[in-house]
């Protein structure tokens, strides 16, 4: 099976936010929940760089390690998903996640967070592929249709890559060797304990 990963080429990202709205569009994500966002460093200064961030679908995901109800699971494609039926909204995963991926709808009184929501790599959830229950809880399941996450597919500058680890690493390597510079596969060391040698 493929090992699915995200890779954001920070030398290409222009903070256009296509990835953010593509995600909203594909999954009908409500206001206030941001499965993906673009972070800009050195905003307005020389050396400004932007990176599109979402759940990185880590190897040995820390969210799964801290979850008291064991709602996380990893698919055969190494996509980290969770069950909203099991989730109790405790927020531990939010503290454990190095990328700030988990989101909470903040519904109800007394500080209750509601069920955690996050990027699914467009792979849905535990319910049957393509079922209405899956869509209502987790959004579309593009992987089951043989498609990749829409955020990367619609990226304006082909900065955000999503797909099989070997393939996207190869694309990035070739790009860096052709242009002669690259700021590395951002987040890979943290998420996957590896980096791309260029």
């Amino acid at each position: 099976m493929a090992r699915m990963k995200f890779l954001c080429d920070a030398d290409r990202c222009i903070e256009c936010n296509a990835c953010v709205t593509a995600c909203k569009n594909e999954h009908e994500v409500p206001w206030g929940i941001n499965r993906r966002r673009v972070v800009t460093l050195n905003d307005g200064k020389p050396g400004e760089r932007s990176i599109s961030m979402a759940c990185m679908h880590c190897t040995d995901a820390p969210c799964a390690a801290v979850c008291p109800v064991n709602c996380f699971y990893t698919t055969a494609d190494s996509v980290v998903l969770h069950s909203k039926d099991l989730c109790i909204g405790c927020g531990y995963c939010f503290y454990a996640c190095p990328f700030g991926a988990p989101q909470y709808p903040k519904v109800g009184n007394f500080g209750s967070r509601g069920k955690m929501d996050k990027c699914t790599f467009c792979a849905g959830g535990p319910e049957a592929d393509g079922s209405k229950e899956e869509f209502e809880k987790y959004g579309a399941n593009r992987l089951a249709e043989g498609k990749l996450p829409l955020c990367a597919e619609m990226c304006s500058t082909k900065s955000l890559l999503a797909g099989d680890s070997d393939v996207i690493a190869q694309i990035y390597k070739e790009r860096v060797s052709r242009r002669g510079y690259g700021s590395g596969a951002w987040g890979w060391q943290t998420a996957y304990r590896e980096s791309i040698a260029t």
Partner: protein, 976 residues
């Protein structure tokens, strides 16, 4: 541990499937949205409507498996990204990447990836509304059209046809924009304008006056061939994000120089190899400063200049004035940096110069773009791959709407307004010239340019004797144009109040609604709901002159109507529908878009829209995968040999099968292969005065240079039947062609030209001999006829550099476009009153990626609105510290005119230099610190509101086009 496998293929699993599974179980759209956790405030309003009035948005029926795929074009900028829509039972349920598009290759920006929300419609104007005693009341279409028509006719009767202003839109299709101009012509006025006025009117005028056509010479994808990209006065990373795919990949492949010249360190500048910060409004000194280094080092392209450029010696005198010291004194750019830039641009070729509204939106906009063209000509960077003036137009169809003449200075396709132009169009429209003449107050006003949209309120509120037409403007019919994208909003409020009739036909109520109520307007205002272009079909022209056909994705939602239908209803009500739609089929009040395009084909010889038949354009859309991205040429399939979208000029009739012109003025290709030469538009020779007082005639035709395979190897004039006769080529004209030519001008058939010959014969014969129909002339460095034939620096009306005003004043006051332009007096008064002491900061404005234009549409889109929720002003940390302003805190921005003020949040950033502040121009719905949400019809208010930048912007108009000045004014900022 739960484990799930995702190997098996399932069918489409998003909204379609969900709605589908529920279709017979009764899940309607509202309960679906509730379940998925969406806030459905807008929908409450829909729910209250009688069911019959709302087109059912619910997908019904058991079979949802195969969603239909429909293709259209993104409605948000001029890149022309293909949008792939999945439609199920009349509902747009998903968007997919358009991999086959040779323009966007699947990509979108935030706006493009969110366009589906536009037809979700929660914040759309849902039905016609009428302002009654200051309250919005729902009316029927019939009532609205009848009342509007009666009022229009009454105003016409009393004040003449020019007292109604028809403000159209770059959001319309080509067919819509063309029909709107035609509506103006049949109504009897040249007061017909659209967003190009405030976007690239100065480009069109300046660039066309240089080498023939005022459009992007190359294309977004061709920038991949550049070795040096210079972006001056543009921020495509936010304004045209998908273009960055081509810019960045091109730069990576070629290891190209990317030079960004801008007052702000923009998101584009973040990817530059060289960033040049200039003082706003000093583009001309900087461009001359670059040229100074080029001529000093002998880097100019002497052979190119000799063969293809007129007026170089005159221009050189101006270039020599701009020594590095003077350039630095005026613009702040160090000489050494410009020497570096000059060397890159002149020696690491091909080089392209990219610009957008940073150059155009100035009182010197036309001169700015002229200076840019001069730099390209000086270095021989026009007419080949990787070169050229890559002018990034704004709206998705602003190029098309300009070409089809939705403009105050011309009839469709740049024919002008003189009698021959009217006669040409009366022949193309098959109406009697005298009928059209009779629609106007008189022949003189019929041939006089109209009032620019930038001055609409001046035309309403100035004394009657100041407005050079029968009466003031009394009615505005606005179809698809924001009011908050026009400068001097406080002045415009007086106009909004004084108008006798205001009609706003738009998918959203817009700031015309909220500001009118604020101005105290109580009656005689109508809002008509218009469908978005995704609910209509038709063609649109991207910045690279390529035409694409958009399909109707879903039917107009709520009570919205297609633009074309509204125009037909108005024409019918006002009694001129029969002659106007003589050759256009009308189906149930909806004119057929294809027929309109065919009518355009028949009359558009001057610009080469003549070969772009609906059949050819639709075939390109259907076979996008056959086109190569880099060359834009089809390598296989039914369109083999064509360039994608048949970029104009696409010569001859469709049967000639000209492939389109991907690069203008490219002599390396043959005419029938998309080649070209500079247009012989300004005569064949010019009398010049010598220093000794004698005169000499100088040729304006190319010298020893022509396009590949041309049978004439030298310059030649534009083709007429007479020219064909001289060459002995008239024998190639067919009997049928000659018959049409004789009908065009029975008295003097020899004068019938490439642009007036309705048979297309003259063009066909010229092409047959490898010649370009418009002649082979020189590009002009000296554009005689313009206010400044050779650009000179002029300080902005409101400048902080009082020391420079005396040497570089703005042009004297003059009457332009039926109105006085008192820029000189305003500048003089500002200097004398010491305005710059009270208002020491330069204020500029620009774009954000999430929003577009006046922004009411994009701020109504919840997916976009969430990303930019507050209007703000960028201020340098040093200026903020002096004023005790904290990042994120509220501030008052104070303007120079009308005691204007705006309450916005401060964004303290080094992005702007000290002494410069910057605001995005997409916000509206606040005025002077007051939230106007209550002024919108209920449920149709945008999600995000904020102060408009143009509340603070001030007086200043380009003398050649009436362009406003939103890029440089002065302000003061105080912590609130």
């Amino acid at each position: 541990m739960l484990i799930k496998r995702t190997e098996r293929q399932t069918r489409r699993s998003n909204l379609a499937a969900t709605v589908g599974n529920h279709a017979d179980g009764g899940l309607d759209r509202r309960s679906f949205l509730r379940r998925s956790g969406l806030v459905a405030t807008g929908l409450a309003t829909i729910g209250a409507l009688p069911l019959a009035t709302v087109r059912k948005a619910e997908a019904a029926g058991p079979n949802m498996a195969g969603a239909t795929i429909r293709k259209s074009i993104c409605t948000h900028c001029s890149v022309g990204c293909t949008v792939i829509a999945e439609v199920s039972n009349g509902v747009w349920v998903g968007q997919e990447p358009a991999w086959d598009s040779p323009i966007n290759r699947g990509s979108h920006c935030a706006k493009g990836a969110a366009v589906r929300e536009l037809v979700g419609g929660e914040r759309r104007l849902k039905y016609p509304m009428k302002l009654t005693n200051g309250q919005w009341q729902r009316v029927s279409w019939d009532v609205a059209i009848n009342e509007i028509g009666d009022k229009l006719m009454a105003i016409r009767e009393k004040s003449g046809s020019d007292s109604v202003y028809w403000l159209g839109s770059a959001k319309m299709t080509d067919e819509g924009a063309y029909l709107f101009r035609k509506l103006g012509a049949f109504w009897g006025t040249n007061n017909t304008d659209h967003q190009a006025r405030i976007c690239h009117s100065t480009t069109v005028t300046g660039v066309a006056n240089t080498w023939g056509y005022g459009a992007m010479t190359n294309s977004y994808t061709d920038i991949r061939n550049s070795k040096t990209q210079m972006i001056m006065g543009g921020n495509p990373a936010e304004a045209h994000p998908v273009s960055l795919q081509h810019l960045l990949e091109g730069a990576e492949m070629n290891k190209a120089n990317v030079i960004v010249v801008d007052p702000r360190l923009t998101r584009t500048a973040a990817h530059a190899t060289e960033y040049v910060r200039i003082r706003p409004g000093t583009d001309i000194p900087v461009l001359y400063g670059i040229m100074w280094h080029i001529i000093k080092n002998g880097w100019e392209d002497k052979e190119f200049i000799r063969q293809r450029v007129y007026g170089y010696e005159d221009a050189r005198k101006e270039m020599e004035k701009w020594s590095p010291e003077e350039v630095e004194r005026v613009s702040g750019v160090p000489g050494a940096q410009l020497a570096r830039v000059a060397k890159m641009f002149a020696t690491e070729k091909p080089s392209t110069l990219i610009w957008c509204m940073g150059q155009t939106q100035h009182t010197v906009g036309t001169a700015n773009v002229r200076a840019s063209c001069m730099l390209l000509l000086l270095t021989g960077n026009v007419g080949g791959p990787g070169m050229g003036a890559n002018i990034f137009r704004g709206h998705d169809n602003v190029q098309g709407a300009t070409d089809v003449g939705l403009d105050i200075v011309t009839l469709p396709f740049y024919y002008g307004l003189a009698e021959p132009a009217w006669k040409h169009w009366s022949r193309a429209w098959e109406v009697d010239y005298n009928y059209l003449l009779g629609r106007f107050d008189d022949k003189k006003i019929m041939e006089t340019t109209g009032i620019p949209l930038t001055r609409w309120f001046d035309a309403v509120i100035l004394a009657k004797d100041q407005v050079a037409q029968k009466d003031n403007v009394k009615a505005m019919f606005v179809q698809g144009h924001a009011s908050n994208s026009i400068t001097r909003i406080p002045d415009s409020l007086n106009g909004l109040k004084a108008l006798e009739l205001l009609v706003v036909a738009d998918p959203h109520p817009t700031t015309w609604a909220s500001l009118s109520v604020q101005a105290g307007r109580k009656e005689n205002m109508y809002l008509l709901p218009i469908a978005s272009q995704f609910e209509c079909k038709g063609s649109r022209v991207a910045s690279n002159r390529a035409m694409q056909w958009g399909e109707q994705i879903v039917k107009p939602i709520f009570e919205s109507k297609d633009d074309l239908e509204v125009m037909y209803l108005i024409a019918k009500k006002c009694g001129f529908a029969d002659p106007m739609f003589k050759n256009i089929k009308v189906d149930n009040n909806l004119p057929v878009a294809e027929d309109i395009l065919r009518e355009m084909n028949r009359g558009s010889w001057s610009t080469g829209y003549c070969g772009q038949s609906p059949e050819r354009i639709k075939s390109h859309m259907a076979h996008q995968a056959d086109f190569d991205m880099l060359t834009q040429r089809a390598t296989k399939g039914p369109n083999k040999g064509d360039y994608y979208g048949l970029p104009w000029p696409c010569w001859g009739s469709p049967e000639v099968r000209h492939p389109g012109t991907p690069l203008l003025y490219n002599t390396n290709l043959a005419a029938m292969d998309g080649g070209g030469v500079f247009r012989a538009r300004f005569g064949i020779e010019r009398e010049e005065k010598r220093p000794d007082g004698t005169t000499v005639k100088v040729s304006l035709l190319a010298d020893g240079n022509a396009s590949k395979d041309s049978e004439i190897k030298d310059g030649y004039p534009e083709f007429t039947v007479g020219v064909l006769k001289k060459l002995g080529w008239d024998k190639d004209l067919t009997e049928a062609e000659l018959a049409v030519i004789t009908k065009v001008n029975p008295a003097a058939p020899d004068t019938v030209s490439w642009s007036t010959d309705l048979s297309g014969g003259v063009q066909r014969v010229a092409l047959k001999h490898g010649c370009i129909p418009y002649g082979n002339g020189k590009a002009r460095m000296n554009a005689f006829g313009l206010p400044d034939p050779i650009p000179v620096h002029r300080e902005p009306i409101y400048t902080p550099r009082l020391d420079l005003v005396e040497k570089y004043p703005t042009l004297p006051d003059a009457k332009q476009f039926r109105l006085p332009n008192i820029g000189f007096s305003v500048q003089k008064a500002a200097v004398e009153r010491g305005i710059a002491k009270q208002f020491p900061l330069i204020l500029s404005s620009g774009r954000l990626v999430e929003y577009e234009g006046g922004g009411e549409e994009t701020r109504s889109n919840k997916w976009l609105a969430e990303l930019q929720q507050d209007m703000f002003i960028e201020i340098n940390p040093a200026d903020a510290a002096e004023r005790g302003i904290k990042d994120g805190g509220w501030v008052w921005v104070l303007g120079t005119e009308n005691s204007s003020k705006a309450k916005v949040k401060a964004l303290v950033t080094e992005r702007v230099g000290k002494g410069v502040a910057w605001m995005p121009f997409h916000f509206g719905g606040w005025f002077g610190g007051e939230d106007l949400r209550g002024n919108y019809p209920a449920g149709a208010d945008p999600v995000v509101l904020g102060e408009s930048a143009n509340t603070i912007t001030s007086y200043g108009y380009d003398p050649a086009t009436g362009m406003q000045e939103p890029k440089v004014t002065l302000c003061q900022i105080r912590a609130a």
